[in-house]
Symmetry: C2
Subunit: 168 residues, 2 copies
């Protein structure tokens, strides 16, 4: 394992997918890249999937992350939007899987706890803490991007425990 | 457009994905290949997606279809299973999209009408007619495979109308 580790957090939705790449160098964390993939406004859902897949393939080729972190989906939605979200999620996850990058999942509660120490934090507190840890003066927008960065930080902070448990 | 056209029908589920490749040569239809992709029994959903994606990439490389047909999902399911189904669906559709193969969607009703002429046919009637049209003596199992073949036949039978409308 190299001393520098890059973790890519992603928050894929059916219209916007946030991503953030966090580099861990010693005890320092830094955001080396972040942004949002916006699928084109088309009625062709399959074209959107292709777009998301190709965008994430490019982002992975550009940043070459070692690991990926994504939020576990557990909230109750209607079946139609869950299906569409599932498709977008697969299109965002597959480029990592094909590149041999391990993908780890965290619940929203785990992210909150990792970032603020408690499970009752507001979304804004999590975003503020994410920016503070990463030294970002401006909170990235849309919030999908900050969520993706928070997931990457959550994964890095959880890694020593996972490593101890032999899960990494 | 060549005289011989190959249409791949797919019926992707989260555990089993059926596929069937139908060749149209003049007025004759024949099943040139069919089978089921069974994702490995693993708790890692992302590994399953990778498996499905790679399996369909191989099938497409093997049979080189010109067009793909898939069933529109519209039935009410719970959100959790809809999400899982959406992920599997994307993993099966993406290899076609990446290979530049147009993907057409048909409802279960459209498939029934195309195969039996009416919308009230039982599943077995649709399967029997599919086998008759394709000259298959034995109905392929599991039913996901016959469903995939029926989709391919439905697309081929619908193509003259689509072509007239300039949609193909």
């Amino acid at each position: 394992m190299s001393d520098v580790k890059r973790v890519m957090g992603i928050d894929p939705g059916s219209r916007i997918a946030g991503y953030g790449i966090v580099e861990e160098s010693g005890r320092r964390l830094a955001a080396v890249g972040h942004g949002a993939v916006r699928a084109p406004e088309t009625s062709d859902a399959n074209q959107k999937l292709k777009y998301i897949f190709e965008a994430f393939s490019e982002i992975i080729a550009q940043y070459n992350p070692n690991e990926m972190a994504i939020e576990t989906v557990f909230f109750a939605q209607n079946a139609r939007s869950a299906l569409v979200l599932g498709q977008a999620r697969a299109a965002a996850i597959l480029p990592a899987m094909l590149a041999g990058i391990p993908v780890y999942e965290y619940s929203a509660l785990q992210v909150k706890k990792a970032l603020t120490g408690g499970g009752k934090a507001e979304k804004k507190q999590v975003a503020d803490m994410t920016c503070r840890i990463l030294g970002l003066k401006v909170t990235p927008k849309p919030e999908d991007v900050t969520d993706a960065l928070a997931l990457a930080v959550c994964h890095i902070n959880s890694s020593p425990i996972l490593r101890k448990l032999g899960k990494i």
